[in-house]
Symmetry: C2
């Protein structure tokens, strides 16, 4: 059975030595997050994930969820109990607002724990993850009454949350939504329609489920400007939060999926269900975006998490499996064969996964920290810059981390040979589970369009210019460092390619938007490679500083330097390929009639 | 439910206009394969695959195989009947030797039909596919008596065949095989041991199953030089082929796999089973290699087949699904939205898959034709050159077609958004089925090592030099053609990169083999890209000739030209990245202690 160890040491390296987390102690909630507390929290979270959630991962895959004739849903054996422990220990409210029962700690810590949870058990982690998303939307757009009633229950973990966007005929294009809301005359609405692919739409974890639902108020304008957001509880609560009558919403069916079997993916039927407007009429998409951005970052973390756990198990297998001899002569001469970790192609595979994982973790924590700054800093300029960064990085993190994360689970599975294809070994589950992350919360092609069509040009390109300046400043500040030079050269080449690609769009896509569309996915990956390379440059600088200071953990830091070099030599050259593809434009792509495909 | 249309028109284009198949009419079996006969055969094969096999594909995935307590195995509903039709129509013996009941037609035709079958139903196709592999090994290494007894029955299709190599502790490293063979004193051997991952090891298609089994004769040398090949029938036949007593071999369990559920993947237990030596003592690996090379090409075809069927279904969905509007303005103004095939990123994805599929089909048919020449040509030099080509291309076709074929199923699944993740739509099955092709018959890392370590240096690099000459000659012959120039420039750059990479190995890997191992996988893909690009250049030349001759199928040929350009612009630039990675050598890859991973 696969195992999982939460990467606590690597996280502490990033917080303490790369991101200088403690320098933000003046921000609300950061003062409490002392190094000791962080270490204690991460240690406890790691223990829970490794011991309680990891063993349930295969169980969830095998058993899946079951819907009974009364439309109730039973989760896999042990899932409910693990949730009770998680709730009782207060994890869910770690970074929720203190006014509504949260602990107010930095979101960054929650992001770290999200990675641990997803690495241990992706399907399980989606249940509390969706509650956090729903809570985030209510915190920003809910009325005071809604926050007191729903947010507190979500923070307490006795109720859970969902997002209801997709309908059978509309996923990406939410303007096509048909679900309707008819005013009841008492301030509430009667919601009718069908939603599909609703994760955690029904289950047995909590006393109530709080559905956030997009629907169209009778008479609203067509398209995206006529969509409103509603809160629709499974059981109607009184003002004290005591649950009462069953609302007119129920799970019509569970989807049979490729993976994440432990999570209930529901068809949800709304049959005149009572709901209340969240935020303004016809501004539902706007309200939902809060939830979606949080969710997109969380999905990026999920991509990383599957890459990490798949890597760990592939390493264990590669150290254990004896097959063949090293090209440079036997390394295990007394055994029947050498462990396959002696083979360069096996090592190349493992190192490439790891070089991604560590840089991805750095990028997500850097971005999570900026999310905290954007929400908590009194310095408006700093908050704005942090928000710019987050907006720019959200599609990159979602799209690149899940594309590469999935590829990495496949590569890790490959290390097992035939055993990787047998369900018993668990590697197939990582592949099947990771696959959804490329699709949900906006398929990755949509992320690429969001990046190129919306995030790049926003505010005259302010966010991307800031990013180029940050990389440029780093290159300049370290230009004299001969030891870093072999890393900085490739980073500079990559950043130049990114600038060229950005310029190419400016020159070629304004008049012909198809040129942007045809290059969007390559641009997203080009951006990701440069951003990850920047992370490796920063990690390498930190590792060299630690080695120079005479730390005791020589191997830990030297491994970072080897991985940094590996990334620069083997991953950074991708930027040239991406630029070539982008510059090819849309001629061939748009050249065929639809019938000629 | 997914559909499948066998690409007959594209195959005829390749045979007639690109590969000049009819110019080989003087070879045995080729004279019979007139254009009319080929069209008739392919039409019938297409019909069988589309109508009989395609509807069974999802059934096989859902039902899987079942093992009863008596160790018998039941295949999914309809599988057995489809096999009976297939057998009765004589498909299995199409290119088997006439002396043993085959039809003696070119292997090339069989290869085409293998693609159709696998595209329609990969799991089903493995049953007859393994029979053909076993027949090929017996045809070369079996005694006359064995051929008369077993090969005839395999050709007739009343018995089926298997390959038994893998044991729990050994897959790639067959020198570790423990199964033993003890002489019975009557010319037969008692075989004892356990084999795993045996495809089609037990089923209900045929009266008997002919297992080809690797085992070690008592007292044989250790390692690969002490392994022999045995034929071990499930039921012991008399010399007339009448089946008698049950032999001591049985299916101990079925594996629960990620995909190809319709095929029975068996643990086979040999308990003093009676077997007969095939070929010489201790030369079993040699005999098995015949089977393995055939099988590896067939697996490459499987990779292509899944890419093709996934593409076809993604195109159908992209034409049908309405979501969003074209960047250049509505294309379906009267509908609620445009079909998603208007979006450049969707088109880019589809075109990249198709640009691979068509070139891959060209490369496999070119190689299959050369396989025929190597086996059938009386011209020894031509036969040798054809054999060189086949040896060189086998790992490229197996490794690249299955790596890219799998990626393409994932990309095609992505076009479906959330629906792609739901089993009901069938795209998940293509992904899960395609995944095995990267693993079995030698995991792709092994193919890369075979290419770099064995096929490249063999006979002083004769095969690769010949390939470079072929590409070079083509470039020279068409240098004056201004219309082809935009394609030939990128092809030349790619071929130059391949030459540089080959030189890099010569200069850096002889003294340090790890440098070859660390670059082997990138080299295999670099080679594949150049070979596929060469196919596009040849297809483009043929398409231009057809257009110049005033054919009626203008769109067909113009689509070829657009795809050729797409490949050169977006795929060929990969060679630079591969070369950069190869030239990075093995320093970082070998830099960490095994414990530091």
């Amino acid at each position: 059975m696969p195992s999982y160890t939460a990467p606590v040491r690597d996280v502490l390296f990033l917080l303490d030595e790369v991101l200088d987390f403690q320098s933000h102690a003046e921000l609300p909630g950061f003062g409490e997050a002392t190094p000791d507390l962080i270490e204690a929290i991460l240690g406890e979270a790691a223990k829970f994930c490794e011991e309680a959630l990891t063993p349930l991962n295969a169980v969830g895959d095998r058993e899946g969820c079951t819907r009974s004739d009364d439309a109730s849903v039973t989760t896999p054996k042990g899932f409910r109990e693990a949730y009770a422990t998680y709730r009782d220990n207060g994890w869910i409210a770690l970074s929720m607002p203190e006014a509504y029962g949260g602990q107010g700690l930095p979101t960054t810590l929650n992001t770290i724990i999200q990675e641990f949870i997803s690495g241990a058990n992706l399907a399980w982690g989606m249940y509390p993850g969706l509650s956090q998303g729903a809570a985030a939307a209510l915190a920003v757009h809910g009325s005071e009454e809604q926050k007191k009633l729903y947010l507190s229950k979500l923070a307490e973990g006795v109720w859970s949350g969902t997002m209801n966007l997709t309908e059978p005929h509309c996923g990406t294009d939410l303007g096509l939504i048909k679900s309707k809301a008819v005013p009841n005359g008492d301030g509430s609405y009667a919601i009718t329609g069908q939603k599909i692919f609703i994760s955690a739409g029904e289950h047995d974890f909590t006393d109530n489920i709080v559905h956030l639902v997009l629907a169209r108020i009778e008479g609203a304008p067509e398209g995206t400007k006529g969509i409103s957001l509603f809160v629709v509880p499974k059981f109607l609560p009184d003002e004290n939060g005591e649950v009462g009558a069953r609302n007119g919403v129920s799970c019509g069916a569970l989807e049979e999926k490729m993976g994440i079997h432990g999570n209930a993916t529901c068809v949800m039927n709304y049959d005149g269900a009572t709901g209340w407007l969240v935020g303004e009429e016809n501004r539902g998409l706007n309200a939902m975006f809060v939830m979606m951005n949080e969710a997109r970052l969380a999905v990026g973390v999920q991509g990383l998490s599957q890459s990490e756990v798949a890597y760990q198990n592939a390493v264990a297998y590669a150290r254990d499996r004896l097959q063949g001899r090293a090209l440079s002569g036997p390394k295990n001469p007394d055994g029947p064969a050498d462990p396959i970790i002696v083979h360069p192609d096996v090592r190349r595979t493992l190192m490439s996964i790891r070089a991604f994982n560590e840089a991805a973790r750095a990028l997500i924590l850097w971005t999570a920290l900026r999310s905290d700054i954007s929400h908590r800093s009194p310095d408006k300029k700093a908050a704005q810059a942090a928000d710019d960064h987050m907006g720019l990085m959200t599609p990159v993190i979602k799209g690149v981390f899940t594309d590469v994360g999935f590829d990495n689970t496949v590569a890790a599975q490959q290390m097992f040979g035939g055993h990787g294809y047998i369900e018993e070994w668990g590697m197939s589950q990582f592949v099947r589970d990771a696959r959804i992350t490329m699709i949900y919360e906006g398929a990755n092609g949509i992320q690429a369009l969001d990046l190129v069509g919306r995030k790049l040009p926003r505010d005259g390109g302010r966010a991307i210019m800031t990013f180029f300046n940050e990389v440029g400043t780093f290159l300049q500040e370290n230009a004299e460092d001969a030891d870093l030079a072999p890393l900085l050269g490739p980073l500079k080449t990559g950043a130049d390619d990114l600038q060229k690609a950005t310029m190419w769009f400016m020159n070629n896509a304004l008049a012909k938007p198809d040129n942007a569309g045809a290059g969007s996915s390559d641009y997203m990956h080009l951006f990701g490679t440069v951003a990850l390379g920047f992370m490796w440059a920063r990690m390498a600088r930190a590792a060299r500083a630690a080695l120079a200071s005479g730390t005791g953990e020589t191997e830990f830091y030297e491994t970072k330097l080897t991985l940094a070099r590996h990334f620069m030599e083997r991953h950074m050259p991708e930027t040239g390929l991406r630029l070539a593809r982008i510059s090819a434009g849309s001629d061939t792509v748009m050249g065929l009639d639809a019938a000629a495909f």
